[in-house]
Amino acid sequence: MSWLGGLFKRRRVYAELSEEIREHLQEKIEELLATGMSRKEAAAAARREFGNVALIEEDSREVWRWPSMEDLATDVRYGLRILPKRPTFTLTVVLTLAIGIGGNTAMFTLIRAVLLKPLEYRDPDRLVSLSLKDFHQNKRDGSFTLKRVDEMRASSKAFSAIGAFLKLPENISLSGRREPEALVGARVSANFLDILNVKPRLGRSFLEEEDAPGAPPVAMISGRLWRRVFQGDPQVVGKTATLNATPHIIIGVLPDNFAFPFVGTDIWMARPAEWSVIPPGARPHVTILNGFARLQPQVSLQQAQAELDVLNRQYVLANPDRLDAGPGVSIEVASLKDQFVANVRPTLWMLFGAVGFVLLIACANVAGLLLAQANSRLREFAVRAALGAAGDRLVRQLLVESLMLAVAGGSMGWLLAKYALYAVRHLTALQLPRVGEIRPDSMVLGYAVVLSIATGILFGLFPSLQVLRRDLTAELRESGAGAGGGSSARPRILGIHARGILVVGQISLSIVLLIGAMLLIKSFARLRSVDPGFHSANLLTMKITLPPARYDTGQKRNTFFGDLLERLASVPGVQNAAVALSLPTTKGWLGTNVSVEGQPVVDGAARFESITPGTFCSLGIPLRRGREFTARDNSPAALPVVIINESFAQRFWPAYPRGQDPVGQHLREGLDKTGWVEIVGIVADVHEEGLATDPVPEFYVPTVVHPPQTAYLVVRTQGDPELFVNAVRSQVLAIDQDQPVSDVRTMDEVLEATLGQRRLTTLLLGSFAAVALLLAVVGLYGVVAHSVAQRTQEVGIRRALGAQPGDILLLLLSQGLGLALAGTGIGLGAACALTRLMNNLLFHVSANDPATFVTIALLFMIVALLASVVPAWRALGADPMVALRYH
């Protein structure tokens, strides 16, 4: 308001001014007329004597104008002139800021796109995920059986619709066009687009009846696939594509960037429970569906949760023997977005915090640099003050300069962020959900601009205040006369205390980052040293998805795998080969209820795995007891047998390895309810879900029992497995020339990929910490060097008076070490509180791991000592006579 008022007032002032000048001229003219001039002459004379009316009016108005605008231009011009004269300083500052601002902008973009922005569907806050929580065993994922989804759908009132999708992406082969290729497919309930409120780009969505068993095969395709394979054909709807060897009618094309339920899905099919991995008879019994739903308007999450709690109790009572029922089972309703990003949220926030720290440290460093700079410019300021510059004018000049630096740093940071984000979008190791939504938009630009200005003010303020506090005229007087008696009490160095505080702050922040990074590195090292339970070296793996249409019976599938292994055995350099339903360290939960003969029924969920004979040998999984599967076990006529892992043995025979021998006992599994099968062997535990997840009870059956539709081929080779890719692939094609293979990787690569996100996180935090350390040490060095320079004369006197070099060194070091100690202490305290937040990112390392804390503190003190010794040593090395005459 006052600003507006000022504007109106100014307008009135201007009007009055014009009026007044007109009156002045009028009066003059009349006076001249009285002397006998003609009116024309009088007017000309009056104007001549008055001067340039327009210019004078302009000058008069300028008095009222904001002085800042014009002064600002002057300051900017001055800055443009003076900054390039100090290229090292300017470049250092701009680069430091670019790293700080760029890192922050990039992380903010990620946080915003992935965590903050609502999902890009209509009314996204009404979308929820439904997941199963099993507090009893607390190790299962949140998936349902189809029956459970159907029952929720039938009886729930809180949701306008409930949908389901197959929890894992499915490999779907597309053949008949060019080379057969394996695509990422999703199985979703027919209503999935209705729930998300998304319209297909072309064609229609699934109809309700297409969810029923036996409905004609239809599929939707991604915009990407539509352009790539169908050349963007506008008539694609209604055409046929051969998917999994079955002709499917394409009913619709989804919009670009549509990434539900998985990033990179190219094919959507209805009937979510019809997963080719699971034999049809077993499908009702396995928990393979993830639920999602749209809340009714006016229904809150709590209300929906309450309703599901009731439904859950009824279901658990009615179906006690089902995998998704049990004493500890509950259903949890959560925002769909939160569920989507749950696995990356802690990582992203931690990294965001870390780049924030880096920026603060960078600001402190730049402030320190500016202080040093201001120090050497004291003469300049003093001269300007003597010439009439007011104190606030000097401060503004300094602020403008720091803002210019910040803007330059910010612009460079923006470019850095754009490149970083480009990299992030293409880094699959991050396993980032919503990756398609990551783009620096105007909001992010605004963030970068605000950040630059805020940092500019933040680090510009320190030197400005210091300058303001100084008696600049004293500076002028003194600079001619030298430092005088050597006992000059007033510190010549500007803001040494302020710089000390800055350095302590920097050190404590970088201590926190260093400890965080160290904890992650330690976790990573511990994770790497975990024995996965198999030998990953020299193993080639690939995925084979047999189309159900051509390989419709288990017999056909088993024959295919048998033939393939037989052929591979004769390939030179192949030591042995096997086929398994899934690869170790990459498995999701796939299991069933198990009971053991002669034991009371316990809640015995166990992981299920289907393998060919020789798998344990190929993977290098040690056999503990009994025997491996033989070729006989894998023939249709054989008696069914199973092999269990040690966790399984311990679950059901708690005394294992003592007590009753599990080998020779019988168990029954819920997948096919075939009856009692004999346990013939016990193998060592394998980290099936990744190195960070502990092994769970697991049992293996020969592929003849459950011949998989999609399976992994593992080939142990002599030498580099990469060299065998073509040889192995040609054996596959020799059996079936339409059969694609996919995911061709060595087992080492598979293992590394499971560590990818962790590795990247560790790497990022590690580099942030390294930058922080560097900046903090440079800051410390700067302060010590400056204060040592200040005391050069003092050192000279002390030495002339006979002080020992060691004493002087100690004197000079004490300041730097004091700062380092204070910073380290504060940093340790802060780290103690903050590392707890990253607890779930750590692996077998306590968030307050004492060894890490002590190591980092010691390391930092050593580095700090070095940073202080160098300038101190230099001061000592100087000739005392020169030092005495210093200045």
């Binding site: 009055e16 001014l17 007044e20 002045h24 008055f50 001067g51 000058d59 008095v63 009439g388």
Partner: protein, 111 residues
């Protein structure tokens, strides 16, 4: 910019003279210009009358003078404020001190 330098003798000279003049009577801009050129033996006549106005505006803004439109005429008259009176005294005494010093220096050297 050049204009302004031409108009000012030294910083604050105009202000001081205006304040001094206003101390005696509250004139309008025109009368002020006339008065100043009249009493200065026309030394100030070489300067444009109009250059008074930016100075007056500055004084207005600093609230050392105030201006009123007289009811009878269409003229705006200027008056010293209390702050202005004090400020003027201070400026004049400062100037006189300085002048004394300058005169001393400029006087034919006796020392």
């Amino acid at each position: 910019m050049k204009n302004r330098e031409q108009r000012d003798f030294f910083p604050g000279a105009w202000e001081m003279m205006i304040l001094r003049t206003l101390k005696r009577q509250p004139p309008d801009g025109y009368a002020l210009a006339q008065h100043m050129s009249g009493t200065s033996n026309d030394v100030l006549q070489i300067i444009e009358e109009g250059s008074l106005y930016p100075v007056l505006q500055r004084l207005l803004k600093e609230e050392v003078v105030k201006a009123e439109w007289s009811i009878s005429s269409t003229h705006r008259t200027y008056q010293l404020t209390a702050k202005g009176a004090k400020h003027g005294e201070h400026e004049v005494s400062r100037f006189e001190n300085m002048l004394e010093g300058i005169t001393g220096v400029l006087a034919p050297g006796e020392s």
